[in-house]
Amino acid sequence: MEAIVELLQKNARFSSAEIADRLDMDEAEVIRHIKELEENGTIFGYHAVIDRERSGDTSVSAMIEIKLTPQRDGGFDKLAERIAKFDQVTNCYLMSGGYDLAVIVEGETLNDVARFVSERLSTVDGVIGTSTHFQLKVYKQNGFIASAGFKPERLPVTP
């Protein structure tokens, strides 16, 4: 199972047949394992990692630091779950250090994000303050280097 997770984490498009080839397993067994991983929530989704600049996507992304007042019942969890539910929020993490939540927000324009932060996020009961950092350029995302280029050559036959 661990080996399957490792492979899918690297490339979610590996077919079950390919995973079976790579791990020397039965394909049916691979399918069964993947289903189990999906059902028990180990795998919570699949998506392509897109170079937005190339895809022509002009939307913007920002990292928002949020300070919270912990609630008596459930600490940060309730608030964090509430914030995470917004469609604009793509990632949401509880952090150690100077602030409590790190949230990634996406919007069509700078204004969209700014409005979302000021009107929706900062007005949530329990949010004490926010600090917004707009993303300027992507160099690496989810383990992939943007604009993969040069491939060094090897001699075709060597001892």
């Binding site: 490792e6 080839d21 790579r22 791990l23 020397d24 075709p156 036959v157 060597t158 001892p159």
Partner: protein, 396 residues
């Protein structure tokens, strides 16, 4: 003027051209070829190692080092070898950093052989073994290992090859080109023979990190002959960074051997090579200190490709023993009635897939071809499909 051909030293003239060169020339210049003929990783050296080399250059570390190699690298090697092989070497006197294992083997032979001394080694093997022995005026005595034994070396064959001129036993497990590993029982018997006949053992263990366990994914077991009782004092352990760390172009290897042997090898090394490149040495320190995770990542990738390859050969009904190490498979093509050379030539002509004829590694390689699976998975898949097409045409 006498023809220049006549000026070449007899010893050098006597060495045949490498079979691999002939094949290389056929493949070179064709850009449609998928090559399983390469003997090196398809990965670039891990970034943290490259970064260490860049940092070394930035700091202006461009000078000679001690002939033996940087003390810090020898410390790291000694620590690593103790952990990995369970043999302790004094970094001050028993470790020598070389320009690849190739240099280490060359100077080991030159340090030990007097004209006519015999070296026993096992074929199929890496192409430089016999030439290295011959250039040191030794006599190379090849034992032909067999497909039936999964190309393991039998102690009984070693015993039969020993004469009163035998000085060295040269071992390479896991083996290039077969991927063979040596069963521990045979290794123990061979160690006893070495002690009984007072032989020096040179053990080239360059592939010893790339070992595959029973389930095809987990790391397998490797025992160095140097770690067996009574063997450290008669063994020259050769290892390096090319394969496991994907650092072929850094040209860096090392030998671990008793002080007297190290000192003799160092004499040749200091006059012919002076020292290994310092930036490679600094990169190697980084590799040993922080490289384990990357080695395992690459080993796992090889393991997956190995699984694919064995599976596809099974489907093609081409027998291929399950190689325990390195990144080579050595399928048996005898059923097609072609020589290894003919098979490789036709596969190249008809399907544009390059494999290396087994005979490039010695006569015992006849009937097999070497397929290197240090090739991107997708390319390997296509190559195997093409081999499948070729094979089914041969069968029909």
């Amino acid at each position: 003027m006498k023809p220049l051909e006549d000026r070449i030293a007899k010893q050098v003239a006597s060495i045949p051209r490498s079979g691999i060169r002939d094949f290389f020339e056929l493949v070179q210049g064709r850009d449609d070829v998928i090559s399983l003929g390469v003997g090196e990783p398809d990965f670039a050296a891990p970034w943290h190692i490259r970064e260490a080399a860049i940092f070394a250059l930035e700091k202006g570390q461009t000078s000679y080092t001690s002939n033996l190699g940087l003390p810090s690298l020898r410390e790291s090697i000694s620590k690593y070898v103790t952990k990995k092989f369970d043999v302790k070497y004094d970094p001050k006197t028993e470790v020598l950093v070389t320009v690849g294992v190739s240099e280490a083997l060359d100077i080991a032979c030159r340090a030990l052989l007097d004209p006519g001394d015999e070296v026993i080694y096992h074929e199929p093997c890496y192409v430089s073994y016999s030439p290295s022995i011959v250039m040191a005026y030794g006599k190379s005595v090849a034992i032909q290992t067999k497909l039936e034994d999964k190309f393991a070396l039998l102690a009984s064959d070693v015993e039969a090859a020993i004469t009163d001129r035998t000085k060295i036993l040269l071992l390479n497990f896991p083996t290039n080109p077969t991927g063979a590993v040596e069963p521990i029982e045979e290794l123990e018997k061979i160690a006893k023979l070495a002690i009984k006949h007072d032989l020096i053992v040179i053990s080239d263990e360059i592939y010893s990190e790339l070992i595959y366990g029973e389930n095809g994914i987990d790391v397998g077991e490797h025992t160095s002959i140097a770690s067996l009782p009574g063997m450290k004092e008669r063994t020259i352990l050769l290892h390096g960074f090319s394969k496991a760390y994907a650092m072929t172009g850094f040209r860096l290897g090392y030998s671990c051997a008793p002080h007297v042997l190290t000192e003799a090898m160092m004499k040749i090394h200091q006059y012919s090579m002076l020292c290994a490149p310092i930036m490679s040495q600094l990169a190697a320190v980084e590799a040993l200190e922080n490289g384990d995770a990357e080695v395992e990542r690459m080993r796992k990738a090889y393991a997956q490709r190995r699984n694919l390859l064995l599976r596809k050969f099974r489907k093609m009904e081409v027998p291929c023993f399950s190689p325990g190490g390195a990144f080579y498979a050595f399928p048996d093509i005898r059923q097609f009635g072609l020589s290894s050379m003919e098979f490789a030539h036709r596969l190249l002509e008809e399907e544009s897939v390059a494999v290396v004829p087994g005979t490039a590694f010695g006569p015992a390689g006849e009937g097999c071809v070497r397929c290197c699976y240090a090739t991107a998975y997708d390319e390997l898949e296509i190559a195997l499909e093409k081999i499948g097409n070729f094979v089914s045409r041969l069968k029909s």
